[in-house]
Symmetry: C2
Subunit: 217 residues, 2 copies
């Protein structure tokens, strides 16, 4: 007998920047089906406790991964009879961004096996259709970088323009012109200069910035 209801889940592509590359978090599946394969973190909707699917996604990240992300948004919905051996399933895919200085929090927390994989090459044999999901999340992420200040969500609270540029470059996959990049930021209200605060290194100090107070997206 066929099931009358689909399995409804929220899956999350959690991105961060780690060791100089854009990463996505994968977990090793501890249950059948696809036991032992790597998959995006996700969980089944619980109508009793989730007021909507965003809730489901946040609950999964909080309980399974141990992080509460500031930024979470939908990518698309994947559905069908063929994508999960248990039968008809529907996954709403989210993408979330974790500031790179919060990466250690993830590694420490859990006994379950999780890995930060290179987002552009997350591995060849992911569970279910998750290779496709990663691809889709990456496309959405990229499309947002062009116009918006989205990558602020991947940076620490205080950052330099060079750091912001590097982050954009990592996501886009190609280098940007320093001069052009800075010129555009001049008219970007979501980026605020921290008057008199600098990052000191082995060279000329770099001006520090922060996201505007009302910065949301």
């Amino acid at each position: 007998m066929k099931k009358l209801f689909p399995l409804v889940t929220a899956d999350i592509a959690l991105f961060t920047v780690h060791e100089g590359s854009l990463r996505v978090l994968l977990g090793k599946r501890a249950n059948a089906p696809e036991l032992g394969k790597w998959a995006l973190p996700g969980g089944v909707l619980d109508p009793a406790s989730d007021s909507d699917l965003d809730d489901t996604a946040r609950r999964v990240l909080s309980s399974k991964i141990g992080v509460d992300v500031a930024f979470l948004d939908q990518v698309a919905t994947f559905s069908g009879a063929a994508r999960d051996p248990r039968g008809w399933s529907l996954s709403v895919l989210y993408y979330a961004l974790l500031p790179r200085d919060q990466v250690p929090a993830v590694a420490g927390n859990k006994t379950e096996a999780v890995e930060w994989r290179d987002a552009f090459a997350p591995g060849s044999r992911l569970a279910f259709d998750h290779a496709k999901l990663v691809e889709a999340a990456l496309t959405t992420l990229r499309s947002k970088v062009v116009s918006a200040a989205l990558p602020l969500h991947l940076l620490p609270e205080r950052f330099t323009l060079t750091e912001l540029q590097r982050t954009c470059e990592l996501i886009l996959g190609h280098s940007l012109d320093k001069s052009v990049f800075r010129r555009r930021l001049k008219s970007e209200p979501s980026i605020v200069q921290l008057e008199g605060e600098f990052l000191y290194g082995a060279q000329r100090p770099a001006q520090l910035y922060r996201a505007a107070a009302d910065f949301r997206f």
Copy 2:
């Protein structure tokens, strides 16, 4: 007792151009809840016959409205416990485009009450959260017009550049410069000039064009 499974539906914002404005199709609800209110066409997923949710959407359009659309794409997914009095529900919202010369086919077919409403003012008291859904579909539609040749799906097979421009203007809600518009189309491979074919009216004849054979988007 709470339900353990959400109600999964596909809702469709079917757009067309009619009498000089952008329209969206609404149907009068014939069942409770929200009986008598106007809503986007939609239907419950049938796992037995739908291979994925796109299938559900196409089935709804075909059976309830009587059209098979060429273009159908996702907008976003709306979910939660509060949006439908029957309980936890999840709707994947699609938008579809109907060429304006196929509008009569819809009107004729059905005994159920359907109306082509102005997409920017579909009415104040739509069923459920459908006013929000229309808004979201409209935003997506607009965002696609800027860069792409999407409005081709709203035009007859053969069309003039002025017709194409008017259609873009209807969607965007503001007028476009003729010269700029045509200049951009010069480098648009999805639009093909029909050599020697013209539309004759009460003035200078207009060159006819068609969408490129491989045009999908």
